[in-house]
Every structure is written in C-alpha cells, then in structure tokens.
Symmetry: C5
Subunit: 326 residues, 5 copies
Amino acid sequence: MIVDNAIYRKGIRVPMDCAPSDLRAVRERLMGDDDFIWIGLFEPDADELQEVADAFGLHPLAVEDALVAHQRPKLEVYEDSLFLVLKSLWYVDATDAVETGEINMFIGPDFIVTVRHGSGSELHTARLQLELKESVLTHGVSAVVYAVCDTVVDGYLDVARELEIDVDEVEVSVFSPARTNDSTRIYLLKRELAEVRRAVLPLREPMRRFVGGAVPGISPDASPFFRDVLDHLERSAETIDSLDNLLSTAFDAHLARMQVQQNEDMRKISAGVALVVVPTLIAGVYGMNFEHMPELGWALGYPFSLLLMVVASWALYRYFKRIGWM
Amino acid sequence: MIVDNAIYRKGIRVPMDCAPSDLRAVRERLMGDDDFIWIGLFEPDADELQEVADAFGLHPLAVEDALVAHQRPKLEVYEDSLFLVLKSLWYVDATDAVETGEINMFIGPDFIVTVRHGSGSELHTARLQLELKESVLTHGVSAVVYAVCDTVVDGYLDVARELEIDVDEVEVSVFSPARTNDSTRIYLLKRELAEVRRAVLPLREPMRRFVGGAVPGISPDASPFFRDVLDHLERSAETIDSLDNLLSTAFDAHLARMQVQQNEDMRKISAGVALVVVPTLIAGVYGMNFEHMPELGWALGYPFSLLLMVVASWALYRYFKRIGWM
Amino acid sequence: MIVDNAIYRKGIRVPMDCAPSDLRAVRERLMGDDDFIWIGLFEPDADELQEVADAFGLHPLAVEDALVAHQRPKLEVYEDSLFLVLKSLWYVDATDAVETGEINMFIGPDFIVTVRHGSGSELHTARLQLELKESVLTHGVSAVVYAVCDTVVDGYLDVARELEIDVDEVEVSVFSPARTNDSTRIYLLKRELAEVRRAVLPLREPMRRFVGGAVPGISPDASPFFRDVLDHLERSAETIDSLDNLLSTAFDAHLARMQVQQNEDMRKISAGVALVVVPTLIAGVYGMNFEHMPELGWALGYPFSLLLMVVASWALYRYFKRIGWM
Amino acid sequence: MIVDNAIYRKGIRVPMDCAPSDLRAVRERLMGDDDFIWIGLFEPDADELQEVADAFGLHPLAVEDALVAHQRPKLEVYEDSLFLVLKSLWYVDATDAVETGEINMFIGPDFIVTVRHGSGSELHTARLQLELKESVLTHGVSAVVYAVCDTVVDGYLDVARELEIDVDEVEVSVFSPARTNDSTRIYLLKRELAEVRRAVLPLREPMRRFVGGAVPGISPDASPFFRDVLDHLERSAETIDSLDNLLSTAFDAHLARMQVQQNEDMRKISAGVALVVVPTLIAGVYGMNFEHMPELGWALGYPFSLLLMVVASWALYRYFKRIGWM
Amino acid sequence: MIVDNAIYRKGIRVPMDCAPSDLRAVRERLMGDDDFIWIGLFEPDADELQEVADAFGLHPLAVEDALVAHQRPKLEVYEDSLFLVLKSLWYVDATDAVETGEINMFIGPDFIVTVRHGSGSELHTARLQLELKESVLTHGVSAVVYAVCDTVVDGYLDVARELEIDVDEVEVSVFSPARTNDSTRIYLLKRELAEVRRAVLPLREPMRRFVGGAVPGISPDASPFFRDVLDHLERSAETIDSLDNLLSTAFDAHLARMQVQQNEDMRKISAGVALVVVPTLIAGVYGMNFEHMPELGWALGYPFSLLLMVVASWALYRYFKRIGWM
C-alpha cells in the first residue's frame, strides 16, 4: 500500500498523484540536483513493490528482503542505490512489552523508497517535521535518511528508558520483604532486552559508515548528524548492557533472598514444633502409671501440670523470639 | 557412488553418461568459457573418489578430507582449484534432534565435484531449480557454488526456526505451575545449539571471502549473492546465540522455581504436621493420671475432648490457609 | 548561569566583566597566540548557552548535547572547535553512594567554554590552581583541557578508593560468623561500579587521541600529560573490574555460607528434637497399661523414670556436641 | 640420550655412527641442498645437549629451554635456525587421564635436532613412516617438521575423541536416575580439558606462520600441508571448547537434579512421618482417661482401634502414592 | 635512600662514592659508548629522588610516579629516557599470601636509576650476578634492563608455582569427605590471583615493544632475551588464568558437595527420627485404656512390648542401612 509520495523540489513538497506505473516518467522529469521523490509504502504486496522496483531499478535481492521483513539491520551498497534496513521499536504500556517493526529504505540519487512493516514504525510525523524545514530538505536524500534514522534511534532511547523503569521496579520487588515471584519478571525483561539488542547492535556498522562519509549517495556534510545518531545508538547499547547485567545481579540477589526466606521458614517451623512437643512430653510424663507419683494425688496437680506446659512453651517462645527464630 | 553428473553448456544441461575413467577426455572436449561439468558423489569409496580426483587433478590433502567427512566448514585455495566444506543441518521431528551432514565441493574453472555425506544433505532439488534458470547457469561454476551455499544456509534458518519453537516450549514448561523436568530438556537443546554453532560460525569466513570478490575462480559479479548468503548466516548465528542465552536464563528461572516449590512443600508439610501434633497434645493431656481432673468425670468429657481436637485442627487449618501455607 | 569567565593573556588572568552579547567583540580583540577566554557555565538555560554559542560559533548539535546533559563521555571534532564530554564522579559518605555530574567543554583555538551539570563537578579549584602556574597557562587551551581532565580523573581514583573500602567491608561481613544480609549490599555496590564504569571506559578513547597528538587544537607537547591522565584512567578501570570480580566471588561465598548455615541450623534443630522425643518415648513406655510392669510398683519408680529421661537426653546432648551438631 | 641419528641424502637414510663430538665434521661433509642430519634426543643431560648445540651453533636461550621442559608451545626464529616447542598429549586408559610430554625441535638448513621429554611422545614411528616416503624426504627439513607436527596434532585429535567419550559417560550418569557423584568427575574432566587447551591453543600461532610461508627455513611449498595441520588444530580446539561448555551445562543439570532429589526425599520422608503420627494420635485418643468412653468397654474395642490405625495409614499411603510423594 | 651506585666501564664495576649533587659531573666524565651509571634507590624521599632527577634530567611526571608507587606496570618513552614500572611479587609462606612491591626504572643512554618500593623486591642479587658477567655488561643499559625484568618475571613464575600448590590443596580439601570451609580459602586465593594478574598482564605490552626492537635506547640485539622474558610472562599469565578457572570449577564442586551433604544429613536425621517414633507408637498402643486387651494381662506382656519396640527399630535400622540413609 502506498501511504504517501511526493516530489521535493528545492526543499518544497510537490504533490505527485500518479500511478506507480508512471513513476519512471515522473522520475525522468526531475531536473534539479537535489530534487527527489519519496515513496512511502506500508506492508506492500509483491506486485506493488515490484512496480516501484522496476521504476527505480532496485536490486532483486534487496526487493525480496524488503518484502518479507524479519531482516537484520544492515546497509547494502549496490551500484546505483543503497538498501538500508532498520528495526523500529516501541514500548506497549498495556503489556509491558517491546514490539518490533521494520523499515526498509531504498536510497538512490533522486529517490527514497521507504517500506514499513508493523504498525508502530510510522514515519508520517518525521516526514511532516522534515517538510517544515525547507533548508534541510534542500540537502536531498541524505536529509531524509538522517531524519528516518534519527526518529528510529530516538525510539530506542525511549524504549531503553521504559525498560529502566521496569528494571527499577524489579529491583524494588526483589529487595522488598514480600515473597515475590521475580524470576518470571526478570526472565521476560531479559527477553525484551535481547530483542532490543538485536535491533540496536547491528545498526552501528551502517551508522559508522555514514559517519565515515564514504558511502556513495550520502553526503559527507551529514557526517556530524549521523555521528549524533551513532552516539544515541551507543548510549542505547550501553543502557541495554547495563540493564542486562543489573538483572543478572538482581536475579542472584533474588535467589539469595529465597534461600534466606527458606532458612527463616525452617527455623520458624522448628520453633513452632518445639512449642508443641515439649508440653506433649510433660503430658506423657503425667500419663505414666507409677504407683508412687506424688503430683498425681495433689488436689491442684492437674492445673499445676497445665501451668507447667504453658510456662515451658512460653519460655521457649521467649527464647526463640530472642534468637530471632520466631 | 556417483549420483548425478552432467555438462552444462551455455546454461543447458547435456547428459554425460561416461565412466569416471573417461572424465579426462570429456573435460578436454569442453570448449566454451562457461561450460562446466558437475559431478555429484554420495559417500563415495576411496577408489571412486580417486578416479574423479585424477581426472580433475584434485589436491591429495583435500581428497583425503572429502573422503572421511567430519571436517570443519572451510575454504581452501589451491593453485588450480578451490575446496569448500559445508555442514548441512536438518531437523528431525520424530526425535526433536538436529542432524548433520557434510558437503564437500571441489571447484575448478570448468568443473564442480560435490561429495555428500549424510542422508539429509541432498542437492538434487537445488540442481533441478538451477537447471530451470538457464541465464543463471551461464555464469558458470560461481552460480552452482552460490546455489549450494544458499540451499545449505537456508537449511540453517529452518533449523533455527524449529529450535526457536523448542525453546518456546521449554519456556512455557518452565513457567507452568506443573513440576517439570526442564533441566534435561534444556541440556539437550543447548547441545543441539552447540552443534548448529559449529556448522554456522566457521562458514562465515569463506562467505566473507566470496563477498570480498578476491577468491580466484569465483566471479566478483556473484558478490551481492554471497552477501545475501552471509546475511542469512549472520541471522542464523544471532538467533542461535540469542536462544542459547535465553536457555541459560530459563535454566536459572527453573532453578528458582524449584527453590520456590521446595519452600512451598516445606511449609505445606509443616502445616500438615501441626494439624496432627496439636490434637496429639490434647489427647496426651487427657491421658494424664491425675486424681483430680474434673473433665474426666463429665458425662460428655470424651466428645468434648474430641471436639476440642477438631476445633484446634480446624483453627490451625484456617490460619495456614490464610497465610498461604496450605 | 555564568559562574566565572576571564581572559588569560600570557598566562595571567585578566578579568572580563562583559555581557555574553559582547563576547564576540572581546574575542576579536584577542591578539596573542596563546591568549584565550575561559567561560564557565553551570546548568545554563537554553538562551544563556545560545548567546555563548553564537559568540564562538559552536555547532548546534554539540550545543544541544551540552544543554540536556546525560551524554556519554566523548570527543567530537568539528571544523573549528572540539566538543569534549566528561562525567564527573564523587562519593557521598552519608549515603555510601556515587553521584554523577557532567562537564561539557567546547574547545577552540582561543576559547574554552565549560558547561557543568550536577553540584559535585566543580572546576573552581582546578582553575585557581591553574592560575597559580603562569608558565603552564602560557601553553594555552591545551593546559586547561589537561587540568580539567586531570581533576575529573583524579576524582575517579578517589571514588575507586572509597569503593575499595566498601568492598573490604562487604568481605569482612561475608566471612564474619554473623548472619548478614550481604546480597543487598553487594547488589548496590555492583550498581555503583556499573555507573563508574560508564563514566570511565568511554573516556579512554578521547584521551588516547590526545596522547596520539593528532587532535587539532590540542598541542602535541601536552602528550605526556594526557598519557598520565590515560594511565590514571586505566588504573581506575582495572580497579573497577577487579572490584566487580571480587564482589561476584564474594557473592558466591555468601551463598555458600548461607548454605552452610542452613545445614548447621538443620542439624541443630534435629538434635533439639531428639532431646525431646527420646524422653517422650520413655514416658510412653511407662504409660503402658500392662498388669505386670515391676518398675511401676517400685517406690522410686517415678524418680527413676525421670532420671532415665534426663540421662538419655544428656547422653544425646553430649553425643551431638561431640559430632558438632549442637 | 641420543636415541636415533642419521643423514638423509636425496631422501634416503644413511646411518651415521659417530660420537656427538664428530658432528661438526659430519655436517661439513654434507653437500646436497636437501641433505640433512636428524638427531633424536630423549631427555638428554646438559652435557649431551651442549655437545650437539656446539656442533650446530644453537642459541643458548633455546638450549636452556629444551633442557628443562615445561615450556609453552612456541616458535622462535633465530638468525640461522628455528626453535619449535610442541606439547605431545596421550590418553592413559588405566587412569582416564591425559598425560603431557614435550618435543623441542631445532631446525636448521641442514639439520633437525629433536629433544623429547616424557615417555609418550615418541617420534620413532613418524620417522619410520617418513623414511618409507623417499620423495617426501627429498624436500628436506620442512618434510620432517611437517611429519612431527602432524603426528603430534593427530595425537590431539585422538585425545579429544577419548575425552568426548568421557563426557558422554558423564552425561549418561547425570541424567540417570541413580544418585551419582558427578561433580568430582566433571571437575577432573574440566582439568584435563584445561591441560589440553594449554597444549593446543598456543600452537596455532606457529602453524599460522608456517602456512603463511614466511618462516625462513620452512619451504612455502609445504604450506598446504601445514594448513592441514592447522585445520586439525582448530578442530581440536573447537572440540575442547565445545566439551567444556557441555560440561558446564551438565554440571548445572547435575545441581538441578540434586535439588529435585532433595525435594523428592523431603516429600517421601514427610509422607513416612505422617504414616506414623496419625496412628499415634489415635492411640493417644484411646489412652485418654475419661470415665465415659463407650469404645473402651466394647469387646472388640481393641481390634477396632488397631483397624482404625491401619485404615488411616493405608488411606494416607494411597493418597501420598497418588500425589507422587511416595 | 641510595642503596647502591656504581659506574660500569667496559663491563667492570667502578665504585662511585659521590654525593648525589656530584652526579652531573660524574656523568659528564663518562666517555665510552657502553659505560653507564647504575643508581639504586630504595623508597627515597622526594628530595633524594629530585636530586637524582636533576642530575639525569628525568621527566617530572615520571619522577612523581616513581615517588608514590602504586602505579600500573608500564613503559613510557620520553625524549631522552625511558620510564619502566614493574610490580615485583613474592610469596610469604607464613601467611600463604602474595605480597607486592614495585620497581621503577629510569633508563637513559648512559644511566639506569632503579627505585624500589617494598621489602621483597630486592635487586642486589641480580646486580651481583650481572657483575660476574663482564661480557654481558659491555652491552650497556639494555643488559641491566633485561637482568631486572628477568629477575622480576622469574619471581612471577615462583609465585605461580606456589599458588598452584595452594590450589592443589584446595582441590584435595574440596573432594575430601571432611566438612571443610573451602569457600573462604577459594575466595582468598582468587583475590591473590587477581593481584598477580594485575602485575603480570600490563607488563606484556612493554616486553612486546622491547622484543619488537623499536624502543629507543634498548638494543635490538637484546630482542631474543626479552622474548624469553615475554615467554615467561605468557606462561605466568596462562597459569594464573588456568588456576582461576580451576578455582571457579572447584567452588562449584564445593557447592555441589555441600548440597550432597545436606541431602545425606536430612536422610540420616529422618531415619533417626523414625527409630524413635515407631516405638513411641507401640507404647501409645499399649497405653490405650481398652478393657479387653489380652496382651495387658500376659505375664510377659511388658517384656514382649519392649521386644516389639526393639525389633521394629532394629528392622528399620537395617532397612535404612541398606538403602544408604544411615
């Protein structure tokens, strides 16, 4: 599905309402150096994508990749165009989960084709913001590539921040006196982190190449901007690694705490048992059948024995309280 | 055993029904630049392989390697030919296990010799598909090398997908309330992953060299295609690593869950014991032999004592229910 | 907020009381090669910083970074200036915690702009010390950059020393016979170490580039001095790594100790139970209703039975003492 | 002790029965390019080795190393000779242990001196096999170096195979229902693996240099042969790493299994206790001294009470069987 | 404190009894290429060191480092001199601990200044041995640098050997049936290993540079000798790593053994409890008050009941013995 397309001439959007089959003709009419077409596709079917691919002469391997999604982030340099794959990430509050989309970009001297998969990876806002900055758009396709990368990577930082909050919650839970089932939570968070890592780490290589300024079709003047994106990427990566390590340590602490709780339970139970077996012993003693047991004949023998039981249990209780077993 | 052999002339298969001893003569008759012979062998014995080796002048060390299997994936560049070893993997549903085969390829300017070991590593389908693409086959041996690598590496992705399903099952099992013996399952999966890793990781180096375009005998024009194979390899490797980490985390969670279960069992047992020892104490008290115990003379003394026992147990039961011990 | 600014002419401080809007004029009057302006800002608002940025032509991306803090340590080389980000660390005794500030430096041929965030990262002392060394200041901005880096990195060593003390305390606690909740402490310390690591490690790259002497605007003569800073950085990093490993080992030892304690508790409890159930058995025996039990008729039967209980318990007690269960 | 020495002239062994002191003279008589002397020493004393060293002008540092053994595998290039140290490994079935020997080689243009330490590192077979291949021996000292390296590294593969069998046994033991002391076995195997790793890993560097063909005195024509040795080395290293990881995972599974067993024991014990305390409670009830307890007067009261106990225990037993506690 | 100083002229020691203030004059009188002064200082105060520094023109940063100790091992190349820092290690039998000293060397074309910290890092023996080898000393300062490095690194090997013995002891202790507190021992040993590692690892870089032969002031002819030192360093490093891994595995085995012991204790305790509760049940049965209990009237009823208890306990005991619980 084509969601948006336009020509950008000297930084100004010119609407382009033509069928994909006319793209080739439109392209030939483009004159200025920095004029370019930006086609935005959302989960296109094979035919739609093929028409666009024919118009711009996209490489079949790249087109195949763009169609099925589930690629790794990567940059491929073809003779007359670039193919850039990014994973977009967003945090869904309702499920505390990170979801993943994919953005494929075909970048030529006079065109950008963006192919999105997944509902969360919208580029409309980025396009609108860019269209407000005429002077930026006059830099041509490099400006669009930067804007898309910047949007996506800012999304990583957002996700990292949300995950930091989740890890803080786990931490509070682990060290709270309540009995909590933190291991499930930790496991799920580690899974999310692994997913984020798979989006973030492979993207560093393409960004480094943009910073290096040696990618054909990407202006070396954009280098400081891609350096900024790369810096945000590195920050995301460091945050992710740091959270992962924290979670491992938190899991260990959780294990230790469970061990402590089992220890405490065991001692509490033992103390409780003692409170019962000691009176039972006393009862057993006065249940013996000796002919000569003076207490048995006492008028207050029975209350005395009960008192003995209570005193013994109470003394034990005080003792266990003191040594912290109860 | 020779399973298939043919000459490919201008991309079209020409049957070649000759004894291995005539290979040399056949080879000399090959004229066109992109004409080549493709011999397919399956677990050949030493003599069979030697006859082929003599016809094409294969290096003795490589021939020895191809005979015994159990090699690492590798690419060896000899003066007039290449020797490429790949591990083929396939998933056997019946046993939930990954099995391993081996494909050895001798690649010369005008010939390909494939030596397969293991029933699952068939190349017949790849050959048929290739024979349908005349234009591809005119690119000569590079096209065959790509087709074989592509087939093998697609098999890796299939295996990785199956293992992802297995890991998902383990995950569900670990976090289910049932008492499951997940550690055995996790161990076996980690073993499978290690086996896959041994097939996948060493193959990256040869693919990188093909992508680099500096391997004699492999056309630099095939570079984007091998880059695609390399990309799939990287994806397999990342999936494997990610699954391995998930399994380690799942194992930790499994340990933690067992600890929790032991804790719960211990508390449940203790509560159960309490339900018995408290009435026993009461029975002990009324078994004492004091002369003056008013309850003993009561007409309803006995039912009263039984009621006392039941009430005590029931109160304890309610208490333990409330604090979650039962 | 501008906290301090001055011109340094031939190594001597010249007060400069002008509004930020006059900076450009002041700058144009600077003549000598090593004369430079040093502006010190503390958590400036956007307008304040923008005025300074306009005067010195600072790059907008760097200005944006300096405004919001939470950057990674890094060095960015722009056409006519450098942008250096450092994290400052200090240890707060009251909370046993490491706190983090940030210092951003814009370095031009004739100016230094320092932007500080966080109360602990003060540079006033460093400036005063530097102003005492006229000969050093004649080396221009490189001397200031060195002085700031040196101050910050010395802070890292201080923090590392404090953390070493904390780790020593944890160690004593882990191996003390007391039951201590070391896992929380270890977790918190590992968190602090992770924070320090995030400040220390990324700074090595900029320092290496200064040592290499190929950063425009930083004098190669300063190379031995930055090598000294780098050496301190490496020492901090090694200390941090070493402490982290020690804490992991200490945590393992803590787990083992808890296991030992549980073992000991279990044996102690079991021994205690034995001291009660054996007399209970004796009482049970003499509570049997056989007609012919000679002991029951003895005049001293009762004291004898009590003695038997005491002796049995005492013998058990001695036995458990001997085998170390009590 | 000199165990074997000979001149190889045009690939044919020429006996050389001379005292070490005559070596220099013998050496001078060597004429042909590929003629060389091969001296085999076994645990020589300092004097023996020194005589040989004098004859061939060996470097004192290398001679010292060769005398005391316990070197790391390494290659040292001196002006006029090479010094190569290899660790030989062999598996002793009787003790299930890996033993280590050492082979030091001095390699000159017209001589090879091999110094062996440890009974298992014999080279006699390798020499005999080599002497059967006249054409190989005409390649001079490179052929001997290859033959020795090949023999030693084949030994690594043998050891790796034996260790694989041991690991398989451990695996079976860990997952068998029997209570086994696998941690000791795993520890010892990990120790063996560490020993093998110390022999295998450092040897890769020298082999890579031989493959690269830039070591003076080693013919570049031998490169494919050393590549074969290197490949075997890599395979040994991968096997070792893989086994080590498997053992770690097996150890974790062993821990988990012990935890499971403790859980099962605890539940079994608790069930057993219940089978005794419930009848005890019943006995306690009928041991009460109430005047009005109808059952006490029944003619079949006693058998009834016993039956009650049996039925209660049997019901509990069935219950525990059903929930898997017994 | 100056502990020793002398001029070495053509390899022969010439006493030099002069105040530090005369050093400059003495130095000017040195004529021959390989003549040099060797000043040995032990924990000098700032003034002492400054005097020497002035005489030889040592760099202030290096002088500061040499004064305070606690440096990392490193090599710094200044314009006219080198500054080398080594950590010396020695093993103190009395405390089973590794102690650390520090040796700082200033190396110029015609002088060596060694500054030692810590009592165990003595160089006197190395100097005496060197003075016996006139031919070596004629090689000038390189010979001294080598001799010092060799002495220090041999110390590392000694320490590594002692630690190997300690690890062997821990291993024996872990696998002995006795209950041992190995976790403390393992922790302390890991601490020692970390300390050794901090001395050993950073020294490899300087040694590699000496081997490379490109350090000004160090003769390339000394390269084989420094290669020998480097080789010993690598051996120490490998031993340390290997011991560290062994200790980690031993710790795991220790944990597993504790788990086994707890299991055994629990079963032993349970069996012991059974031996008491079963007779208690029998006593309870004969303590019931039924009117018609034939055994109660038997003449031998009492001994029979006691026998029943003993037989029941003895049967249980035999059973528990057989299943290994006692």
